[in-house]
């Protein structure tokens, strides 16, 4: 049995079985990651290219560790988007790397749809490590993993996703994945951050955080790109913190047993206050830990799944 998809480009293509398989396999890798020798030969001899067209220290480190622990050979490449001015198009870049016989591309890009464009120019498997404002499926997998480990289930949970919804690939992946697993996402943010068509996802959207907080099992805070948003969509860090930041008062409004997640890096003092970020309810470091295990799972299942390729 393998995943129903050849590539991991988005969460909308994944079935509940696919997601369950990734999370279950992720558990096995979490066990590997807790050993003294955190390495298995599962992908020995496979070549994985980390093509990061947009800088990202955290996600790239997580993928690199996952690859090393699977014994894959990996190569890090920077690069740029297709551009006549810069010379080589992305298609040429991918064809060039593919000609060196690689098995997988892990791609981070600032433009939506870039991973799909890569699939059209290579036979290798492609994992989307975040494409523009579109999707970030491995982030969703590690989020679901973290939530499932805490609650023992996903079905029936309510998850408030708070922040810059319209520019968020994290929300773009997490919302459909939660729906697939039977959870109920609720979008919360100022109208200037709300998505144009929440009905497409079949979710509710509101600006009233205090009304939502007592109703949910998970408060998922999105990172706000202050440098891009200040004055454009929100007036200031101070005002955002007052209206949408989770401080001790709001934390006390949360249900007993509920948790706080954040994809990192956190803007302390903006979307989350210190005392909350450092409280046991915040699962931010668990998410990071889960990231390596679930990425190992995704790569193992995708590369193992090429049953009769050679």
């Amino acid at each position: 049995m393998a995943l129903s998809v050849k590539h991991l480009l988005d969460t909308t293509s994944l079935t509940a079985d696919d997601i369950t398989q990734i999370l279950d396999t992720g558990r096995s890798f979490a066990e590997v990651n807790s050993r003294a020798i955190k390495k298995v030969p599962a992908l020995r001899g496979r070549t994985i290219v980390n093509l990061f067209l947009e800088p990202s220290t955290r996600t790239r480190s997580s993928f690199e560790l996952a690859e090393k622990r699977l014994s894959a050979d990996s190569l890090n490449m920077g690069g740029s988007t297709s551009s006549v001015v810069k010379g080589e198009s992305l298609a040429d870049t991918i064809q060039t790397i593919s000609a060196m016989n690689v098995d997988m591309f892990v791609c981070r890009a600032s433009l939506a749809g870039t991973p799909h464009l890569i699939t059209e120019n290579t036979d290798a498997v492609v994992i989307n490590a975040g494409d523009g404002k579109h999707q970030h499926p491995t982030q969703a997998m590690l989020d679901l993993y973290t939530i499932r480990e805490h609650f023992g289930r996903l079905d029936g949970l309510k998850v408030a996703i708070v922040g810059d919804l319209s520019h968020s690939r994290v929300a773009g992946s997490l919302v459909p994945a939660l729906k697939t697993m039977g959870a109920t996402p609720i979008l919360v943010g100022p109208p200037t951050f709300q998505v144009a068509d929440p009905a497409f996802w079949g979710v509710e959207q509101t600006a009233d955080l205090d009304a939502v907080i007592p109703e949910v099992d998970v408060v998922y805070l999105l990172r706000v790109q202050l440098e891009r948003m200040e004055g454009a969509a929100i007036p200031s860090k101070r005002e955002y913190n007052r209206l949408y930041g989770v401080d001790e008062r709001r934390r006390r409004l949360m249900r007993p047993g509920s948790i706080i997640c954040h994809p990192g890096p956190m803007n302390r003092g903006m979307e989350i206050m210190h005392e909350v970020a450092d409280s046991p309810q915040a699962k931010v470091l668990d998410q990071v830990t889960a990231g390596v295990a679930t990425r190992m799972a995704a790569m193992y299942l995708l590369l193992g799944g090429e049953s009769d390729a050679y």
């Binding site: 396999t25 066990e31 020798i37 599962a42 590369l303 799944g305 049953s307 390729a309």
Partner: protein
């Protein structure tokens, strides 16, 4: 083709109980007691057999050796050809360093599973010895591996499937030969 039932039964429940008792005695004898012995079953059936052997050793020695389970999925050399969902996480709740580790599996066949298991167990530390106990040795080895404790040698054709049935997993205890390769 499984619906027609087994071609032959090689061992019944009584045979298996006697065999496990014998193997437990051999383990205790070979290791001069059970003080340093730990059992590591290869999932899934090896894990259940390891538990049964530990029970037997406890009834002989009065103390039960620790039991762990090992999922060798990530160590297989045929990942590209067949992939199984990984649902049985490895669980070795003791330090392997300096111990006499008895790897336990149901059927010894090509030896590739055991090779993977040896790789895996070494990632947990440096055991004093690693020994191998199996219920059935059906031959057809592809690697230089042999078992220290064997329940029964069952010469078989590679076109046959030798199955060890266990109470917890299969609802009955038996060793059967089925027509056709393993599903």
């Amino acid at each position: 083709m499984g619906a027609e039932g087994p071609k032959a039964q090689v061992m019944d429940e009584r045979d298996m109980e006697r065999t496990l008792t014998r193997i437990a005695h051999e383990i205790v004898e070979a290791n001069g007691g059970s003080g340093s012995v730990a059992m590591v079953g290869i999932v899934r059936r090896g894990s259940e057999i390891a538990e049964l052997l530990a029970d037997e050793i406890e009834s002989i020695e009065g103390t039960r050796p620790p039991v762990g389970s090992l999922d060798i999925s990530f160590y297989r050399d045929d990942v590209a050809r067949s992939i199984q969902p990984v649902l049985h996480a490895t669980d070795i709740p003791f330090a392997v360093d300096g111990r006499d580790i008895v790897l336990v599996d149901d059927v010894l066949y090509t030896g590739r599973t055991i090779r993977s298991a040896l790789d895996a167990i070494m990632d947990f530390g440096r055991p004093k010895t690693v020994q191998l106990a199996v219920v059935v040795d059906r031959g057809h080895r592809e690697l230089p591996i042999r078992a220290d404790y064997v329940g029964k040698n069952v010469p078989s054709s590679s076109e046959e499937d030798v199955r060890v049935c266990l109470g917890r997993t299969d609802g009955r205890m038996a060793v059967e030969i089925w027509e056709g390769k393993e599903a």
